[in-house]
């Protein structure tokens, strides 16, 4: 467990922003140089803290998008219209700035080879971020564990890391896209919200006991996890990370 690296207090540290990457019209990746970074497990997150001149502070959590083997820590941020921190990270921060963070945090929604597989990853929207870290880890370590990703977005231009995911697609890492609102002419991926038929098509059977990670908006995660349990998958092998309001 990465826990070994965080037995002491997780102290705030300053990272240098060395690059900002446009991923989609509403999503950017921040490439950070973090001196003394203790390393992380694929799937963990960090806390980010902003401080105004009068001392006012705001903290939020962001999943780590980079793999443990990558040279830099990368955070991928979706700009939320009514947000307080994400518009700053998206609109204001640029290379040369510094960003205060502490981490890595979280020992459960994380994958490494010791946990085995087959590995089924289900992502909705920006829920791809921690799963992308897992895929990068998988690829960098040449893991023999079979992995599949189903990635659901509303449209093709909301797909984050599209080129990279297409390049990862192989016999060992199979990548499936489903678009739920609009799709380009000739689109040969899936064209609907996640449902039982789609899961049967892309998933291993319950008897094959896949290890499942589901991340995305609450409605997506609830639906995917409920479907898997109803299909006979062991609830103890389904790990979830939900975000976003429920409206209640």
């Amino acid at each position: 467990m990465a826990g070994a690296a965080v037995l002491g207090r997780l102290n705030w540290q300053l990272a240098d922003v060395i690059e900002v990457v446009d991923e989609t019209p509403r999503v950017r990746s921040l490439v950070l140089r973090c001196p003394g970074w203790p390393g992380h497990l694929a799937g963990q997150h960090v806390d980010v803290r902003l401080t105004a001149e009068d001392g006012y502070q705001a903290e939020r959590s962001y999943s780590i998008a980079s793999g443990p083997e990558d040279e830099h820590v990368v955070l991928t941020v979706e700009r939320l219209e009514d947000g307080e921190v994400s518009p700053y990270l998206f609109d204001v921060l640029h290379p040369g700035d510094r960003l205060e963070l502490r981490g890595p945090i979280g020992g459960y929604f994380a994958w490494n080879e010791a946990l085995g597989g087959p590995l089924l990853l289900l992502a909705g929207g920006s829920g791809i971020v921690p799963l992308r870290s897992m895929l990068r880890h998988h690829a960098a370590t040449h893991s023999p564990v079979p992995a599949r990703l189903l990635y659901s977005t509303r449209s093709l231009n909301e797909v984050i890391y599209r080129k990279e995911l297409e390049q990862l697609n192989s016999a060992l890492i199979e990548i499936f896209f489903t678009l739920t609102r609009e799709w380009p002419e000739g689109w040969n991926g899936h064209r609907r919200r996640i449902d039982e038929e789609l899961l049967r098509e892309i998933s291993w059977s319950p008897a094959e006991r896949p290890l499942v990670y589901v991340c995305g908006p609450t409605a997506f995660v609830e639906r995917a996890a409920d479907l898997l349990v109803a299909m006979g998958h062991d609830a103890a092998r389904i790990r979830t990370e939900r975000f976003g309001p429920t409206g209640t």
Partner: protein, 201 residues
């Protein structure tokens, strides 16, 4: 003071009452859902709530028996370790003073356990004296499964992961035994006012 974030400050949220908002938290009108696995759905006729372990008399209630216990409706603020706080949430439930008195405790620590295998540890002293409940209603309605229904532990003065969803029982222990998140990097006690989020805080 930590270094100033260049250009930050123009979009801040309206100032919150500092006596009600712990450090590092922000107020949300939403009710976010955070769970480590699928939402369990135990039929009410199979549901029981049990208190066992270091107690004088192990006790257990069926759903009907549980509902017939004295209920309270109360308004509290809740604070999630992921930074959101929600003020003036209205719950209905049974005080843990009522439930614990029926069993008679001898141990000083509690592990709450839930459908789905979740656990959370809390000192007994944090569950008595009108500070904690088993809640089955939220905002005048039965508690939604996503938010822990049919019933969840509610310990509002600690970070909200301690308020175990889908709770089915308490195990009294002599020692403080780390629960699910407490084994996975999160603080053993979890006081939001001392910002005890993670190991070592």
């Amino acid at each position: 003071m930590p270094p100033v974030s260049r250009g930050f400050g123009s979009r801040r949220r309206p100032d919150a009452d500092p006596t009600r908002l712990p450090p590092g938290q922000y107020i949300t009108p939403d009710f976010p859902v955070l769970s480590a696995g699928p939402t369990p759905r135990t039929p009410l006729e199979q549901w029981t709530f049990a208190i066992r372990g270091a107690v004088k008399t192990p006790a257990s209630w069926t759903w009907q028996q549980f509902l017939s216990l004295p209920n309270e409706t109360f308004t509290v603020d809740i604070h999630c370790v992921t930074k959101w706080s929600k003020l003036d949430t209205v719950w209905t439930g049974v005080s843990l003073d009522v439930l614990l008195e029926a069993a008679g405790t001898t141990g000083q620590y509690v592990t709450a356990w839930s459908d789905g295998g979740y656990t959370a540890n809390i000192p007994l002293a944090d569950l008595t004296g009108g500070k904690a409940w088993i809640a089955h209603g939220y905002d005048g309605k039965p508690l939604d499964p996503e938010h822990g229904g049919p019933a969840r532990l509610l310990v509002p003065h600690l970070y909200f992961w301690k308020s175990a969803k889908w709770v089915r029982g308490l195990k009294l222990t002599e020692e403080d035994e780390p629960g699910f998140w407490e084994q996975n990097g999160y603080h053993i006690y979890g006081d939001p006012w001392r910002e005890q989020r993670y190991w070592g805080d």
